[in-house]
Each structure stands twice: as structure tokens, then as C-alpha cells.
């Protein structure tokens, strides 16, 4: 392709940043052209978010230069960055839930009417104009708390555009979106690009990067590693660039020849619960990994909730080692040897402000009790053992878990439950939002656990991942099992995709 020379939107040169003497970024160069979608990738702790926070004016830089639209700028605060035209679409949404869409869009830049008082009608009118430009349908007077995450994201984008942002930073924007919502977002990104808006796109999802981005820059261990047009780089090169080594292919299925005779460890018979789980039966043997595939709303998550005693069963029974068990609440489920790695680690999996240690020990408090009191020393050594076993990168186990990267937080959630030594592990989207390196580690962990005789129920919307580890795949549709496929009978991803969509081959 003959690339027309486009003017630069952002030029970052020789960026260095250290926290408490620890180098986080060293001599990083980063360029984005006008009207370009530029993917930014790297493993946990590679420095992506630090680099972006410098561009937003949240962190100051120790050394280096930044130019925006060719003009050298000093970004001393968020204000400076916004004035220079940098807008951020936050991963953790930066909206005030009790405000309307328009009030959020114009927070700190509210239009004023007579007597210098705020004019919410004018704000709503201007918001409507922005949404028209984005070609999306959002009611500016709706309250954020009443809307779904897809709308939050559109509001975030509108907020940036209303301030005339020329550069949009999107951090894992599809992490909490359903597929059709993500598609709509990609369309919007494409339109903005045509308008000359540059987008810095941070994502772990390879398909999105290829679909959307023009170029990719990879950071590794705080250094610039590579910048390349996506037409000139293979997924293998990207993965290798992020992880820093050739991966033994974790996404390659290995036949683990599970013995499925004998009494199943877990058996579900005709489960029904609420409107989402209608009729689910399956059996799961020791050492087996059972994948659950299905579209959004097929009842995957609700099934997991039933098995862990969060949702009550309306009909059907659950058997553990051949005996009917009552999973009436989560405590019963835990004592029966079932553990759930929940979908949303931040909300359901962790007490974010508590330390890594305390989070790890939460389900284990019973076992470290001495008399009436907790045995602190045993707790600490137990936590340390779990951290080591699951290679959680935590500088200090007594710091809040909130400070860890997403991948490491997920490891804490997994470690926490494996500390209870469960027999049955239910994992709901265990690799959502983690980088490729950690994802491979987690998949490796799942295989190890199964090899050690545990039964794993893996819910995932990523087919390559399901196919990589599952020995069998259960396809759910509208709360019913519509297919129970042995791994050998699924030749490829497309086949599974069709089965999930309900297209017969």
C-alpha cells in the first residue's frame, strides 16, 4: 500500500518514568498519525497504561517530549491534555451515575444561560448534536445509572468529542460489551477515523486489533519493542512481541485421555432456575474439563450461579459423587467442594481495597483459626505459598489488591478458591481482560488442575480458548443443552461457532 504521508497527531519521544525508583517506562517512542487507529499492546506491567496516563496529563514525565498536532506541549494536568485535544474513554467508566447523559458530557464545561446559571436544556441540545455526529441514538436526558454499559461508553466518547478531542484513547473498550454492541463501536471508530480523529486502541483481543487498527506498537517491560503496520505483522509475531518468548502453543488442544467411566464427580439432572436456565443436564468426571458455549443470554452464567448455590433451583437435582446434594446457598456449595471463579472479578471476586493476603485468605479463615482467634503467621505463610504457586506478581502481599494488574487480580481470584482445595471448579470467563501471557498461564493452570483429578466447568465466549482446553463442549441455547460435543468431533472454531448459532452443518 502506498501510504499517503499523513500529519502526526501525537508524537512521544524518549519518554521515561519511574515510580519510587522503579523504572516503568524507559526511552519509549510512540507516534500516532491523524485519522489513524493505532493499537497499543503489551503484557501486564509493560507500561501501556503509564504511557497513556502521561498522555492524559495524570502522571508527569521524568524525561522526554510530547507533541500534539506538531506542537510541543507540556501536559501538567488533565486540563492541559484535554485542552490539547486528548480524550480518554476509560475502562473503568468515569461517569457520575446520578447525573444524566448530558450532565456527564458537559461536566466542568456546562453551558450557561441567563444570569450565569447552568442551562441543562442547552446541554441536552448540544449532546444531541454530538450523538448525531456519532450517528447513534442516545437520550441525553436519561440517567446514567439507568443505562447499560454500552451507553456509558457512548457517553464517554461523546464527552471526549464534545471537548473537541482529536485523539481518543480507548482502553479495552469492548471488555464489557456484547458482540453486537462491540460491532457498533467498531463502526463508530471507523467513522471517527474518516473524520480525522486518531484513536489509540488498547486491547488484548487479536481479532479486534486486526479488524480495526492500521498500525500496532508493542511495549515490553517498559521499553518500545515494535511499531508495524498490521498488514506486515503476523499474530504470532505480536504474541511473541508481547510475551517476549516463543510460546509453546497454549491454544493447541492436547488430548488428555480422560477416563469417563465410573461415577461422575458432578452430575446435573434437569436443572431449571428462573427464566434463564430451563433444562440442563450433564455429567462431569474427575479430571475432565467441560466447556460451556453459548451466546449472551443463553444461561451460561446463570447455570454457574445455580451450581454455586447463588440462584435457587426450581427443578432438577445436583449429584456429587453419586449423592444428591443440596446447594441451597454458597456456604453449602463451598463445603461440598464446589468453587466458582465469577465473571466479574472486581465486583464479585475480590474485596478491592483489602490486601492481596486478606483476599487470598477470605475463604480459608476457618482453616487458620486457632481457638477463637486467627493465626496470623499461618495465614501469611499460606498466602505466600498461594502467591508463589500461582505466580502472582505482587510486590507486597499486604498492599491492596486494587493496585495489581487485571491479570494478576484474576490469578488472586483463582488462587483464593484453589486454596480451599475444591473438587469441582466452575470458571466463568476466567481470561476476560487479561493479557495473552497471563491467559496462557491460566489455561495451563486449568489443565494442571484437571490433571490433578479436579473437574472443571469452563464457561467462555472465546472459542479458541474453549477448544484449547475442553475435553467436551456443551452448547447452551435459551437455557437448554442443545449439543454435547466430544472434543474430537469439533474440527475447528467455525464448527463450534455454527453449533452455537444453531446452524446445522
Amino acid at each position: 500500500m502506498t501510504a499517503e504521508p499523513r500529519p502526526p497527531a501525537v508524537t512521544m519521544r524518549g519518554i521515561c518514568k519511574a515510580f519510587d525508583g522503579v523504572r516503568v517506562l524507559q526511552d519509549v517512542d510512540f507516534d500516532v498519525l491523524q485519522g489513524e487507529i493505532h493499537a497499543l499492546a503489551g503484557g501486564n506491567g509493560a507500561g501501556k497504561s503509564t504511557l497513556m496516563k502521561i498522555l492524559q496529563g495524570v502522571y508527569s514525565l521524568d524525561a522526554g517530549e510530547i507533541s500534539i498536532a506538531g506542537e510541543p506541549v507540556k501536559l501538567g494536568s488533565i486540563h492541559d491534555a484535554r485542552a490539547a485535544g486528548v480524550g480518554m474513554v476509560f475502562q473503568e467508566f468515569s461517569l457520575v451515575p446520578s447525573f444524566t447523559v448530558a450532565q456527564n458530557i458537559f461536566l466542568t464545561t456546562e453551558p450557561k444561560g441567563r444570569g450565569g446559571l447552568l442551562d441543562d436544556k442547552e446541554a441536552a441540545r448540544r449532546a444531541r448534536t454530538v450523538f448525531q455526529r456519532m450517528e447513534v441514538n442516545v437520550d441525553p436526558n436519561a440517567k446514567i445509572a439507568d443505562l447499560g454499559t454500552a451507553y456509558w461508553q457512548l457517553t464517554e466518547i461523546a464527552k471526549a468529542l464534545a471537548q473537541d478531542a482529536k485523539v481518543l484513547i480507548m482502553d479495552e473498550p469492548t471488555a464489557s460489551l456484547a458482540k453486537h454492541e462491540a460491532d457498533a463501536l467498531f463502526e463508530l471508530a471507523g467513522r471517527l477515523k474518516v473524520e480525522g480523529v486518531s484513536i489509540i486502541y488498547i486491547s488484548h483481543r487479536m481479532d479486534e486489533i486486526y479488524r480495526l487498527a492500521d498500525r500496532i506498537t508493542i511495549l515490553r517491560d517498559g521499553r518500545w519493542h515494535l511499531t508495524e503496520a498490521l498488514t506486515d505483522v503476523t499474530p504470532e509475531q505480536i504474541v511473541e512481541g508481547i510475551v517476549g518468548r516463543q510460546l509453546e502453543d497454549a491454544l493447541q488442544y492436547r488430548d488428555r485421555s480422560v477416563v469417563t467411566g465410573g461415577v461422575p464427580l458432578l452430575e446435573a439432572r434437569g436443572l431449571r432456575s428462573g427464566s434463564r436456565v430451563r433444562d440442563v443436564s450433564f455429567s462431569l468426571h474427575p479430571g475432565e474439563i467441560l466447556g460451556i458455549a453459548g451466546l449472551m443470554g443463553s444461561g451460561r452464567t446463570e447455570l454457574a450461579r445455580c451450581l454455586f448455590g447463588i440462584d435457587k433451583l426450581d427443578a432438577g437435582e445436583v449429584l456429587l459423587r453419586g449423592d444428591v446434594v443440596d446447594l441451597g446457598d454458597t456456604r453449602k456449595a463451598i463445603s461440598s467442594g464446589v468453587a466458582l471463579i465469577p465473571e466479574d472479578r472486581r465486583k464479585q471476586g475480590l474485596v478491592l481495597d483489602h490486601s492481596v493476603r486478606d483476599n487470598l485468605l477470605l475463604p480459608l479463615l476457618g482453616s487458620i483459626r486457632r481457638g477463637l482467634l486467627l493465626d496470623d503467621r499461618r495465614g501469611t505463610s499460606l498466602a505466600r505459598a498461594l502467591i508463589e504457586r500461582f505466580t502472582v506478581k505482587a510486590a507486597n502481599p499486604s498492599r491492596p489488591v486494587r493496585l495489581l494488574s487485571g491479570g494478576n487480580q484474576q490469578k488472586v481470584v483463582i488462587a483464593k478458591w484453589l486454596g480451599t482445595d475444591p473438587d469441582v471448579l466452575v470458571m466463568d470467563e476466567p481470561t476476560a481482560g487479561v493479557d495473552i501471557g497471563t491467559k496462557n498461564e491460566i489455561l495451563g493452570m486449568i489443565r494442571e488442575l484437571a490433571d490433578a483429578g479436579k473437574a472443571v466447568l469452563l464457561i467462555s465466549s472465546e472459542y479458541p480458548e474453549l477448544l484449547a482446553v475442553s475435553d467436551r463442549v456443551l452448547v447452551l441455547r435459551e437455557g437448554r443443552v442443545v449439543d454435547d460435543l466430544a472434543r474430537e468431533s469439533i474440527p475447528d472454531e467455525e464448527h463450534l461457532q455454527l453449533a452455537v448459532q444453531g446452524v446445522r452443518t
Binding site: S94, L95, F99, L107, T108, K143, D146, G148, L188
Partner: protein, 332 residues
């Protein structure tokens, strides 16, 4: 019209959030938001029916309800800002007491203007300390102002040796709540002034919006460019200064300063704010709601007295009504 891609079709055609936003649509009526007004009317009608023959509806009695709630209303208006910002100020009652004492002493020694300035000075000093500790050192406002509650009350009692300080300056007494403007007691004018100003500033100015944003999602506000530390400092400063003015209103009406003036007012003010629909978790607040919260409390006090209940019984019933009202106002 441009081609609109109707993106994530959560609520088809009617647009997002439409189902819950229609103010008077069938079944969509969000009565939680208006529970304080409904409650006010209901309690008023009940008392009117029960106590109509005992003078409840006389203009004298109704005016006295307004008069009795006026000082709490003033404190509660400022408290609305503090709570909407997801902070709390427990020191307002003691600050009122301290300011009544200090302004009384200053009035007797140096005259009217120094007296007023001294009272305001108490508010500024305490507010700056509260706000500084909360915003600079990140100490929870609950703890800071709990400590300040004791300190301010202690200082007020200490400097006066527990005795009241009489105020003989008639201008002071007339200005601060003793006098009338036409048929309307001055105190009611003061509280009307505070309510009007407070309502407009909270709903219609950038400062008010930023207070709500700080309370609704501090991180989001900070990342949007709101100086949330400054906002927290300001609301706690305002709260103390207004409490100091309330202290002078006590002093003017009772023609003396005393450490006990205002004692316990923080709880009535907080109750009025929460009854008025301001979220205890911040992010949403209404000064008009607060006014009606304060009036409802005053109404209940008045009605219970007319019913002939003694103080202990009043307390029990008042507490129960407040819990009930807050429970009803809660969503879900």
C-alpha cells in the same frame, strides 16, 4: 436527519431509560423522589384532622412551626451540600454553640461589627480545619468532625465557665432572629434566604454541579478536571460558616451566647437532609427537599406536643417516623 445506527438496542425505539424517566406515565411514576412531599402532605392532613380543634391549623401555630424549624433549616441547607458531596459534618451543633458564645463575648467587649465578625471567624476557622484535614490529609470527615464536635463544645463551655453570656446589644438581637420584618419573624426570612440561595447554587451553578459530581463518583469527577479536594474543602467550610451564623441566630433570639445552643442540631439537620431525598452516599441532593425534611420534623414535633405526649414519647415516635420515611424513600 442523518442516518442513525440504533446501536445497542437495549430499549427498542423508546430510547434508553425512557421506561423509568416518564414523570407521570402509567406505572412509571417514580414516587420515591417525591416521598418527602407526599409524606409532608399526609402528616399535615393527619394532624389537621386529629388536632384541627386544638389550634393546629391556626396561623399562629403554623407560623410557630416555621419559626421553630428555621435555625435547623439554615444548618440543614449547608448540610445538604456536605452529604451530597458524600461527606458528613457532625460538628455543626457545637460550632453553633461556640459561635454564639464567641460573638456574645465580642459584642459585649467591642460592639456589633466585631461581634459578628468574631462569630463568622469561628465558622471560618473550624471549617478550614475540618476541610483541611479531610481534603489534604484524607482523614474521613466522619472522624474529623466527630473530634471537632467535642473540641468546639468543650472550648465553648471552657471559655464561659459553663455560664451564659448575655447580649445587651439590641441591634444584634434584632438582626439575628429577634426582630420581625412586617408580620414575618426575622428568623424565617433568614432561613428563606438560605434555602433560596442554596437551592439555586446547588442545582444551577457549576460549583453545585461539581459538589454533586464529587459525591457521585469522585474518581470520575477528578478525571474530568474537577478539583475534588477543593470541593470537599469548600463544602466543609460552608457548613461551618453557616453553622456559625445559625449560632448567632440562637444568640440573637435568646439574647445570650451559651455552649448548649445548637447541641444535637447535627442529628436533626442530617435527618432533614436525608428525609429530603439527598443520597447518604452522595451524588444527588435537593435543598427544597431538605426544607421539607426540616418542616416535616417540625410538624411532627408540634403535632406530638399538641397531642399531649411528653418529651420521651415524642422522641420515640419521631425516631420511628424518620426511619419509616427514609426506608420509603430508598430505592428498591
Amino acid at each position: 436527519m442523518s442516518r442513525t445506527t440504533s446501536v445497542p438496542p437495549a430499549a427498542p425505539s423508546s430510547g434508553p431509560g425512557a421506561s423509568r424517566k416518564i414523570p407521570l406515565g402509567l406505572g412509571g411514576f417514580d414516587w420515591h423522589r417525591y416521598v418527602i412531599y407526599i409524606g409532608f402532605v399526609v402528616v399535615f392532613l393527619v394532624f389537621a384532622a386529629l388536632l384541627g380543634d386544638r389550634g393546629f391549623l391556626s396561623s399562629n401555630n403554623l407560623l410557630s412551626i416555621l419559626r421553630q424549624t428555621s435555625t435547623i433549616t439554615v444548618i440543614a441547607v449547608a448540610m445538604t451540600y456536605v452529604i451530597a458531596c458524600a461527606e458528613i459534618d457532625l460538628s455543626v451543633g457545637s460550632v453553633a454553640g461556640l459561635s454564639s458564645v464567641v460573638s456574645a463575648m465580642a459584642v459585649s467587649n467591642w460592639g456589633l461589627v466585631p461581634g459578628i465578625l468574631a462569630g463568622l471567624g469561628v465558622g471560618f476557622a473550624v471549617g478550614a480545619i475540618n476541610g483541611g484535614l479531610v481534603s489534604m490529609l484524607n482523614i474521613p470527615s466522619f472522624l474529623v468532625t466527630l473530634g471537632m464536635l467535642g473540641i468546639a463544645a468543650g472550648v465553648a463551655q471552657w471559655v464561659t465557665g459553663s455560664a451564659p453570656v448575655p447580649i445587651l446589644n439590641d441591634t444584634f438581637n434584632l438582626m439575628f432572629g429577634g426582630g420581625d420584618i412586617g408580620p414575618i419573624p426575622g428568623r424565617i426570612v433568614w432561613s428563606a434566604l438560605f434555602v433560596a440561595l442554596g437551592a439555586v447554587v446547588l442545582a444551577k451553578t457549576r460549583f453545585g454541579r461539581q459538589v454533586l459530581a464529587t459525591g457521585g463518583n469522585r474518581i470520575a469527577a477528578e478525571f474530568t478536571g474537577v478539583n475534588t479536594k477543593k470541593i470537599k474543602f469548600q463544602v466543609l467550610l460552608i457548613s461551618s460558616v453557616v453553622a456559625a451564623i445559625a449560632g448567632m441566630l440562637y444568640a440573637g433570639r435568646l439574647q445570650s451566647g451559651r455552649f448548649q445552643w445548637g447541641a444535637g442540631d447535627e442529628l436533626s439537620a442530617i435527618a432533614a437532609v436525608i428525609l429530603g431525598g439527598t443520597s447518604l452516599f452522595g451524588g444527588a441532593g435537593s435543598v427544597i427537599g431538605t426544607l421539607f425534611g426540616a418542616l416535616l420534623i417540625g410538624l411532627i414535633n408540634n403535632g406530638l406536643i399538641l397531642l399531649g405526649l411528653d418529651t420521651s414519647q415524642q422522641q420515640v415516635i419521631r425516631g420511628a417516623i424518620i426511619i419509616l420515611a427514609v426506608a420509603l424513600a430508598r430505592k428498591r
